[in-house]
Symmetry: D2
Subunit: 153 residues, 4 copies
């Protein structure tokens, strides 16, 4: 990925993440982006607990972070498929980007100090993108995986 | 559903919803419960917006509310399958209840003033429950549907 | 649904079903079609058994029939959204129709003498259709449900 | 994986595949098995075509092969979690093994001469196993991916 493209995508990702109040409540932060993988990060805090007996992440936090990073990776697919598109046109395309459906598999209790939501493209095209996501903690333990279909056209 | 069972389930549901900080942030409120259907409710507010261009619900809010109401309906299934179980035993079972997987289909933009997440049982047994959920707004417009598999054993 | 449209859709459905050798092996037959619901039917026979201990339907037969009836219902959506389209244009669109993803929930053992795969539209648009399907036996016992996303654009 | 376990699993897999008429119709053949991955194989033939315009695999063939190989991998999980179990007991467990739900993503047209359905365990336990599957052709082109939840308890 060229430097300019990387810079553009990083800027767009930070915008996508930070302008949304719900993402700020979770504490989602941009981590890294490339043609192969996008990663966002957040830390454990009491507001994110879903099971107060076990002190583990709320399922809604898990699916929200996976949906978000999947959307960012779909945006990478849009950029790759429209390399000569102007930034304004691209921004317009990105404001229309939306999740069609998503399956989440909750594999292990959401325990940890820091969490990383990662996404990779499975399929990209003029109309839809299919993305695979996973959530791991700071020890790379896999907490959840997901597959999402996004409208990109 | 008998009055005592209804009262027990309402109490447990309110507990499940209100003890969790993330649910309070969303503003999830218990609405109603029966053998056929559980409903929880929340109101639109700026903190729940996911697309600031269009002023619509964050996908994470939609999936969190659907997952929650699905879990409550799975708990109804547990109670139905264990009618003579003591409340303490039931509480213990409910603290172990967890989502195995969930598919969400985002059908329409999450616009509205008040939202209702509803759940119905598809299958219930000693080990798992399968639940179907939907999110509608105050005009009964269907915003999302979901299917979840829950561990109940 | 007007008589002409009904006739066109019935003809197209029968074509979609009967021209495909795999559907003939299963024994899929067109049953009925309307704006609300499409139904295809097949009978139990030894070739369709998946568990020889219990004499129940193979999961692949279940998902194949659900995918097929979902595709037919997506075609109804295409026709509804393109009312003035010529038959040749419509046929061309239908040859491009494809399944993007599908979730199947296997609720009960596939026991019975005759099976009905039914589909209803959840969402339809210029690019994709989302369809909900179910498989019931001759006693209306629900054996499986599914949700599929189809490319229609 | 020890030699005896490998032999036992190979035998069980071949039994699971070959005793089922529907699998024979597709032409499913046991390929290989290990703690990490199970693979089954089948060849293209006219009976498996789903789109006679494009000569590609029927979606039902794809999902049937993915479901089958996922079930075999779930059986590996059962064996790993029950190392001292007698073969008869294991066989009994395996006859109860069933698919709870499965999501399939159809990524590319099913073109090719030979197809390999592969499965890896995501999660295994006393009651359920979660398995990830993929279908590739003889050139390792990914045609579909899937995630399945299996009852193993």
């Amino acid at each position: 990925m060229g430097f300019l493209k990387q810079a553009a995508l990083s800027a767009i990702s930070e915008l996508m993440i930070n302008k949304i109040p719900f993402n700020r409540h979770i504490g989602l932060k941009f981590h890294s982006i490339s043609d192969e993988e996008s990663i966002i990060q957040f830390d454990m805090k009491p507001e994110l607990v879903g099971n107060y007996f076990h002190g583990i992440l709320h399922g809604g936090v898990i699916s929200a972070s996976l949906d978000m990073v999947g959307g960012i990776m779909a945006a990478v697919g849009v950029l790759n498929d429209n390399p000569a598109t102007h930034l304004n046109k691209l921004k317009e395309k990105l404001t229309k980007l939306s999740t069609i459906d998503m399956r989440v598999d909750y594999l292990r209790p959401g325990k940890g100090e820091a969490f990383y939501a990662k996404a990779r493209l499975l399929r990209t095209g003029a109309k839809i993108a299919v993305v695979r996501m996973e959530l791991v903690n700071e020890q790379e333990l896999q907490i959840a995986v997901a597959t999402g279909t996004y409208m990109v056209g």
